[in-house]
């Protein structure tokens, strides 16, 4: 049994036939977009079954304002340390009431990573023990990594770089 991207994809589709929306392999890393409601089940299965993804490398958010149904996303990087294989999971959700299951019960380290994602994108994590903002000021009142907040004052005209790239 070769422990490859294909093998993992098959194992997950066999266990959860409905959940994988799309899969790709950018730069060799298996990337699965899965249904939001199945996230915790899938990660739990990946962690505790023979797939052995026992290490949560990273959680981060992303914002795509141009796709309303999939406006906010959370991206998980999981790592099987024994076979040394990484998998990227993605879930997407609309902007209103963005909420996804918390992974703190599975990985203690998910705690601050989820707080950071909440802080930057306002995505709530259901079941998180202590979901507060972490890096920004608690009184900030908005989630600064969302694309509608430009880095610089949008009313400035002297720095209009419409001619140069993005």
């Amino acid at each position: 049994m070769e422990f490859t991207n294909n093998f993992i994809l098959e194992a997950i589709t066999r266990e959860f036939p409905e959940t994988v929306i799309s899969s790709s392999e950018p730069y060799g890393m298996l990337t699965l977009e899965i249904k939001k409601q199945d996230l915790k089940k899938v990660v739990h299965h990946m962690k505790d079954s023979s797939l052995g993804f026992n290490f949560l490398t990273d959680i981060c958010g992303i914002h795509h304002p141009e796709t309303p149904e999939k406006e906010l996303g959370v991206i998980y990087h999981l790592h099987n340390l024994v076979e040394n294989l990484r998998v990227r999971l993605k879930v997407f959700m609309p902007f209103e009431n963005a909420e996804v299951d918390s992974l703190v019960e599975l990985f203690a380290g998910a705690n601050w990573m989820e707080r950071e994602t909440f802080d930057f994108y306002g995505i709530k994590f259901k079941g998180h023990p202590d979901l507060r903002v972490i890096l920004n000021d608690p009184g900030l009142g908005y989630h600064p990594m969302l694309k509608q907040y430009p880095l610089e004052d949008g009313t400035r005209t002297d720095k209009d770089d419409v001619m140069f790239g993005r």
């Binding site: 990337t31 949560l56 990273d58 380290g109 601050w112 950071e116 920004n136 600064p144 880095l151 790239g165």
Partner: protein, 407 residues
């Protein structure tokens, strides 16, 4: 055992008045000599015993991820400097390699070896700071003053390579801005000759020192299972007994060419973390020696003019260089769309860069996987039930760098 101690303590308090009378709150930080950076620990104490602790971080949050969405790829290097400022070259080079992975740029063998040398020098500097400071926090200032002289020599080498000492902004996408100078070779040769004896002296001061061992053995220990659950990487994970090292697990920049060991500990306590870092410095020295001996000839940067920022003198005198400079800075070059995750073994563990590109001049999304941020959340669990002096040495041996914590 520590949990039992805690519950025993808590059952002694029957009324709130009793709790109010006996417990007190201590602020360790935000600016406190023992935190070595700006972050706050609010400790609930009974006498010297820590019953509960809570962390406040973000005092130097500078929104690097947001800023990155407006800057072009070369300008982001300066942001990575300021994360783990004890080993800036690793951050810089890790970022360059992420972009090269996105662009599909192959760098020459010489560049890879040069990068290995710089990254291992940075690792030595990083570990020296951590271990010397662990010594200071146990009351041994002498080793600190010795080792900071050697760290100074490493900074002199940085200066030869990139002109800066702390926030190095080292290298370019595709290689280095200039080749190693003869002076650099001289400095490295000198360092490799004199440092081992001095470092051994430092080790002799602390490694088998009864006082140091009593202070650190068993202080702030964590099991391998909990460490993995908390997402520990780097020396702190290896001290708990898990031999995960990005340099070996997924070799980058020709690390597979070198012969070195991955030291591991057993109990994950402060002493093991100290010893793992000590051993890693010896291994880094081995790697530098091998890389210097076998440093291949060839160009010091990849031949990719559309991504490699040209030399400034050429920009002023040559047409092509001026065009490429303009195109790179203004984002007129074709950058592939895609997403890439690249990890390097930083001073504190797996330093990851998750880059999403939409083909524009700056990243659509850039996320830094910062090892400090992830493992610092385990700190309450490691110190609850122990005494304040253990908490201080635990903090210094975890090597929490505020810049990396907050990004």
């Amino acid at each position: 055992m520590k949990d039992n101690a805690l519950s025993n303590i808590l059952t002694q308090y029957e009324t709130k008045e009793q709790i109010d009378g006996q417990l007190y709150t201590l602020n360790l930080g935000p600016t406190h000599p023992a935190t070595h950076g700006i972050f706050q620990n609010i400790l609930t104490m009974d006498g010297e015993k820590i019953l509960h602790s809570e962390q406040t971080v973000g005092y130097i949050h500078r929104a690097f991820e947001k800023i990155s969405e407006r800057r072009n790829f070369t300008q982001i290097t300066t942001l990575t400097d300021r994360m783990n400022y004890c080993s800036s070259p690793i951050n810089n080079i890790g970022w360059h390699m992420t972009v090269e992975k996105l662009l599909g740029v192959e760098v020459p063998k010489r560049v890879q070896y040069m990068r290995v040398i710089m990254m291992e020098l940075a690792r030595i500097a990083d570990h020296l700071v951590c271990n010397a400071v662990t010594g200071v926090d146990t009351g041994a200032l002498t080793g600190f003053t010795y080792m900071f002289q050697d760290r100074e020599k490493i900074y002199d080498m940085y200066e030869q390579v990139c002109g800066a000492r702390l926030t190095t902004n080292m290298g370019r996408i595709g290689g280095f801005e200039r080749d190693f100078t003869p002076k650099f070779h001289e400095l490295v040769r000198d360092f490799l000759k004199t440092f081992p004896a001095r470092f051994k002296e430092f080790g002799d001061l602390l490694e088998r020192n009864r006082i140091f061992m009593d202070r650190t053995i068993g202080a702030g220990s964590i099991s391998a299972e909990r460490a993995l659950s908390y997402g520990f990487t780097g020396p702190n994970l290896r001290a708990a007994g898990v031999d995960y090292d990005v340099r070996v697990a997924s070799p980058y920049s020709s690390y597979e060419d070198f012969d070195f060991n991955i030291p591991v500990g057993t109990s994950g306590d402060t002493y093991d973390r100290f010893m793992v870092r000590q051993s890693e410095i010896w291994e880094s020295l081995k790697i530098i020696q091998q890389a210097m001996d076998r440093l291949p000839d060839g160009p010091f940067h990849a031949d990719v003019p559309e991504f490699y920022l040209p030399e400034k003198a050429d920009v002023y005198t040559k047409m092509e260089a001026l065009i490429y400079h303009f195109k790179i800075v203004m984002g007129e070059t074709e950058v592939p769309k895609g997403e890439v995750y690249h990890a390097v073994e930083g001073g504190n563990g797996e330093l990851g860069f998750y880059l999403v590109s939409d083909g524009g001049r700056s990243p659509y999304r850039l996320h830094f996987r910062r090892p400090c941020f992830i493992y610092y959340q385990a700190y309450p669990e490691m110190i609850t039930g122990s005494v304040i002096s253990d908490a201080v040495v635990t903090l210094s041996s975890l090597n929490v760098i505020a810049g990396e914590l907050d990004a």
